[in-house]
Symmetry: C2
Subunit: 224 residues, 2 copies
């Protein structure tokens, strides 16, 4: 799990030349693209060599085997997903910020009609049962994602928008759960309906833990 | 999509002998087991022949190609998942019934530490982008699942437990979304935490649409 976020180097070597690092990165990018399109299992090292323009000896210089390359792809995809929404989560410190983040995700997947779903979710579905190393990396990736959502909720604790007794860890986990389910169903249906309803539910769930002003419309109507 | 729930026969033939039907079913079961363990892409027709004890000519008598067999596996897995929870959903006509259904799902996945996740969800993640036929079958499978959840909510409309203006289609979609996200995260983490938090959120979301007595604890406490 330490691999995520740390500087990754070639097998057995602490440093890479700039050119070596570029070659290694090129191999990972090519592998990540192939895996995103067709899954890990259908992607061969020959495919990766062809797509990255590298020889077998080059590829094996950087990766001991397909598992090692797959793990590097997991790390890369996790970074890619988190980096893509970093500006939305980093600047969010309110329910309105979370709603803007959710709307941006919905819009992104609406434009691509759900194709590809979530890169991390897809890898998790394919690898969790077959590779313990990959599963641990994916678990760490989800945990990082959840931590970034939680950081927004913690900020809302700080401003007093969120009630002091609201458990931000549980709320963040529930939001990530709705998001992952929504992305899988959007990938399958090519519609963002489940993603929208799931995220809407999750943010209303947060609103219920807020100090007045954000309450669920119907909850207010019932006037109990 | 019509394939789900209809009587399926050999390619080009309206009926099968009992023995033919048994052979066909044996091939599908063997394929479904292999796909569940290792995914569609890693499962070859040779694997299926070996596991089912059938020859190439037998296999091709029933299935034109791997895609045809894969689609039969999708249909079979959908039936299996829905049949397994049929007794819980069929008898449920209340929020308490939905809570019992959710608890049974959590317990099932706790016992197996999340391994395998949801067979339909796994197939959806692997096939939605690569096979349009499979995607449509999986979409139909999710729709059937959602319909069964919605039937419980409609029954709650009937008894007056659910408010008349509650949109049961949207509530059912939100429940399925939380369920799928929870299963994927449970498969990855080997813990049922996300599944529990997701389903709990979804059923509290339903409770908010109920006529008194089921309200979220904190919502009541806030007393607005």
């Amino acid at each position: 799990m330490a691999a995520i976020g740390s500087t990754r180097t070639a097998q057995g070597g602490p440093t890479l030349t700039a050119r070596g690092a570029a070659t290694r990165a090129r191999i990972i990018e090519a592998a990540a693209d192939l895996v995103f399109q067709q899954g890990v299992s259908a992607t061969t090292l020959d495919d990766v060599m062809a797509a990255s323009g590298t020889s077998k000896s080059q590829l094996y210089h950087y990766f001991a085997d397909k598992d090692a390359l797959t793990n590097a792809v997991v790390v890369r995809e996790t970074e890619r997903v988190l980096d893509a929404q970093d500006h939305l989560l980093r600047d969010a410190n309110s329910l309105a910020g979370l709603r803007a983040w959710a709307a941006a995700i919905v819009e992104f997947h609406r434009e691509r009609r759900g194709v590809g779903g979530c890169p991390i979710g897809s890898l998790a579905g394919e690898l969790s049962d077959s590779s313990e190393d990959a599963r641990l990396l994916l678990q760490a990736g989800f945990a990082m994602w959840e931590d970034r959502i939680r950081a927004v909720l913690d900020a809302m604790h700080g401003t007093g928008e969120l009630r002091a007794d609201a458990v931000t860890a549980d709320l963040a986990a529930a939001i990530l759960t709705a998001l992952q389910g929504g992305l899988l169903l959007t990938q399958t249906t090519h519609l963002t309906r489940h993603l929208e309803l799931g995220l809407q539910m999750a943010l209303e769930h947060v609103a219920l833990e807020c100090n007045t002003g954000h309450r669920h419309k119907k909850a207010r109507q019932s006037g109990q």
